[in-house]
């Protein structure tokens, strides 16, 4: 036994080193595109085609940010994205919580209703975006903030409902029962007791909904054009890089990804729950 233990330990040691090498390479893989993008956003245009590539510019510049935000309507997209994402997030988290509470406390509609909502999560957007486009055109909702807000509310609802559903199921009902005995209506028991208790879960849910709206591209591409366009759709202007707009594209990307990364890392404790629609507890 003792003799056999030595080579095994050595093997384990080698395995350990292998792990860290793998992790190191993977981290490089994650960071490389981000670093290159960040550098490109502050690189003067005449450094673009240098060989060897310029890993860090001598004279960093913010000119690409100015051009992307003001000449390519990035700022307008940013503001639209903020308005639309915030409104849809609040609606989705609120309406989702209402439904989740009902499902968790009263088992409303049995399994069918909850799974029906869940199934919406897996609907390919391309299957509904065309009819929605036609409906919106007829209803005057095409290229309006309100139109995209409604669309985003609906498409984030399955996640909101299921995250809150998972939460309410594990929230003890004794407090609400006590409130009911004290003469509260069901609504008051929900609004004044259950909701304040679930505030942290609701914030996490809202953040995931916000990130989903903030990063969404397909619906925005089809349902908006010149007025209600969101930040991700502005990137269409840089496709193919006519006139080599590398810096502008990168600058806009940095502006767009910063808020969602910060928010995402803040709620990373709830990440498993968010990714699995509440199926797995983190």
């Amino acid at each position: 036994m003792v003799l056999a233990a030595a080579p095994r330990r050595r093997r384990r040691h080698r395995l350990e080193i292998g792990r860290y090498i793998f992790l190191g390479i993977y981290l490089l893989f994650v960071l490389a595109p981000l670093y290159w993008m960040l550098i490109t956003s502050i690189k003067p245009s005449n450094d673009y085609l240098a060989v060897p590539p310029v890993w860090f510019p001598d004279k960093p510049t913010l000119v690409h940010y100015v051009v992307a935000l003001f000449s390519y309507r990035g700022l307008r997209g940013l503001i639209n994205s903020l308005i639309i994402s915030l409104a849809a997030t609040v609606l989705s988290a609120f309406i989702g919580s209402l439904m989740a509470y009902s499902l968790a406390r009263f088992n409303t509609g049995g399994k069918h209703l909850s799974f029906w909502v869940l199934s919406q999560r897996f609907l390919p957007p391309v299957a509904i975006v065309l009819p929605i486009f036609l409906i919106y055109r007829n209803a005057g909702l095409h290229d309006t903030h309100i139109g995209l807000i409604i669309a985003y509310t609906v498409f984030t609802l399955p996640v909101s409902v299921w995250m809150m559903y998972a939460y309410f199921r594990q929230l003890p009902r004794s407090m609400e029962d006590a409130a009911l005995v004290d003469g509260c209506t069901r609504w008051q028991a929900f609004w004044r007791v259950a909701m304040p208790l679930s505030a942290p879960a609701m914030v996490a849910t809202a953040v995931f909904a916000f990130i989903a709206c903030w990063t969404e591209f397909f619906f925005a591409l089809v349902l908006t054009s010149r007025d209600a366009f969101t930040l991700p759709t502005v990137f269409r202007a840089f496709i193919g890089f006519q006139g080599a707009l590398y810096g502008e594209a990168s600058a806009l990307a940095v502006v767009s990804l910063a808020p969602s990364i910060v928010l995402g890392i803040l709620v990373q404790r709830h990440l498993v729950r968010g990714l699995t629609l509440g199926a797995v507890r983190g």
């Binding site: 793998f22 992790l23 993977y26 893989f29 960071l31 490389a32 595109p33 290159w36 993008m37 673009y48 060989v51 309406i95 989702g96 209402l98 439904m99 509470y101 409303t108 909502v117 897996f122 609907l123 390919p124 957007p125 391309v126 299957a127 509904i128 065309l130 009819p131 929605i132 486009f133 036609l134 409906i135 409604i150 669309a151 609906v154 609802l157 009911l180 005995v181 003469g183 209506t185 609504w187 990063t215 969404e216 591209f217 397909f218 089809v222 930040l231 990137f235 193919g240 594209a249 990168s250 990307a253 990804l257 990364i261 928010l263 995402g264 990440l271 498993v272 990714l275 699995t276 797995v280």
Partner: protein
């Protein structure tokens, strides 16, 4: 529930009509709560689906007035289109490649990150960053990295390999498929990783200790303990990922625009171009119903599997 309702009625003496209203809303409380969500989903998901089914059987054209019923013509046109068939094949190919790579990388990362070591928190935060970035930006970032002559990829490869590498990563087959897969793997490996890590953390440590005492370690412990305990999580992660990856659109749109020609048309991209650049609305809705039914097949198969495992 009824007892609490009667107790609650006692203090209501004055406003009779108001209490009648609140009584009604109390009785239908659970349905009132689900109503907004259900109405929204009906209006913006079920109604559009029905509408698109109707459109797929008629000739819906902005130029041509009146919508003539054409039966299955639209469906036949999609099925006869070689680009449509190619797009389904490509979507399947991408889905398989992406899911396998993301699963293996995610599992490897989870096995490393399940241990505690210095700097683990920071590395964890870095690893999950791609999940919070718009796929459009991910496509953009990879395009910047690979684009010839701007991106540094060819330069680095030339240095490493010692020969002059001149690959047009975004226009040259087969490299552009690798580029698209790289972007997807970059973004979604953390998805697998996070779920698998949660699964690994939940395996009781004493199982490994017991195995160690029996002289079972390393690979044998991995196959005997880790794999069976992690199986439900593996299936969950793969199912969720598979259902998302067949929708692949954003990175294609930014990186290749479906091109060159129709070489990188995925199902979503094909339907988008038919509907929104060629304006064959009816054909696009027929195609999206075919795609929807194919998706449904995958969903039923996988979700059935998933529920089966969960019951065990």
């Amino acid at each position: 529930m009824t007892e609490t309702a009667t107790i609650r009625k006692l203090p209501a003496t004055g406003a009779v009509r108001l209490s009648a209203l609140s009584d009604w809303s109390d009785r239908h409380f659970k349905w009132l709560l689900v109503a907004p969500a259900v109405i929204l989903i009906l209006a913006l998901s079920i109604y559009p689906l029905i509408f698109s089914l109707v459109v797929s059987f008629i000739n819906y054209d902005f130029q041509v007035p009146g919508h003539a019923f054409v039966g299955l013509k639209n469906f036949r046109m999609v099925l006869a289109d070689p680009v449509a068939r190619w797009s389904i094949a490509l979507t399947t190919m991408f889905a398989i490649a992406n899911v396998i790579l993301e699963f293996l990388l995610g599992l490897a990362l989870a096995l490393i990150m399940v241990k505690h070591f210095r700097g683990r928190g920071l590395i964890m935060s870095i690893l999950i960053i791609p999940l919070f970035i718009s796929p459009v930006i991910v496509g953009q970032a990879w395009a910047l990295l690979l684009q010839r002559p701007f991106g540094p990829t060819n330069y680095i490869l030339s240095q490493l390999l010692g020969t002059d590498v001149k690959i047009s990563w975004l226009t040259e087959s087969p490299w552009l498929y690798f580029a698209i897969i790289a972007a997807d793997v970059w973004q979604w490996t953390p998805f697998m990783f996070v779920i698998l890590l949660a699964g690994l953390t939940a395996i009781p440590a004493n199982l490994y200790e017991a195995a160690e005492l029996d002289g079972v370690g390393g690979w044998r412990a991995f196959w005997a303990i880790t794999v069976p305990h992690l199986a439900p999580m593996m299936l969950l992660a793969i199912t969720l990922r598979l259902l998302d990856t067949i929708k692949l659109f954003d990175t294609i749109f930014i990186m290749t625009g479906g091109g060159p020609g129709t070489k990188t048309y995925t199902a979503s991209y094909y339907l988008y171009t038919v509907g929104f650049t060629q304006f064959h609305i009816s054909q696009a809705t027929a195609g999206s119903w075919i795609f929807l039914l194919l998706t449904l097949l995958v969903v039923t198969f996988l979700v059935r599997r998933l529920l089966h495992v969960e019951e065990k």
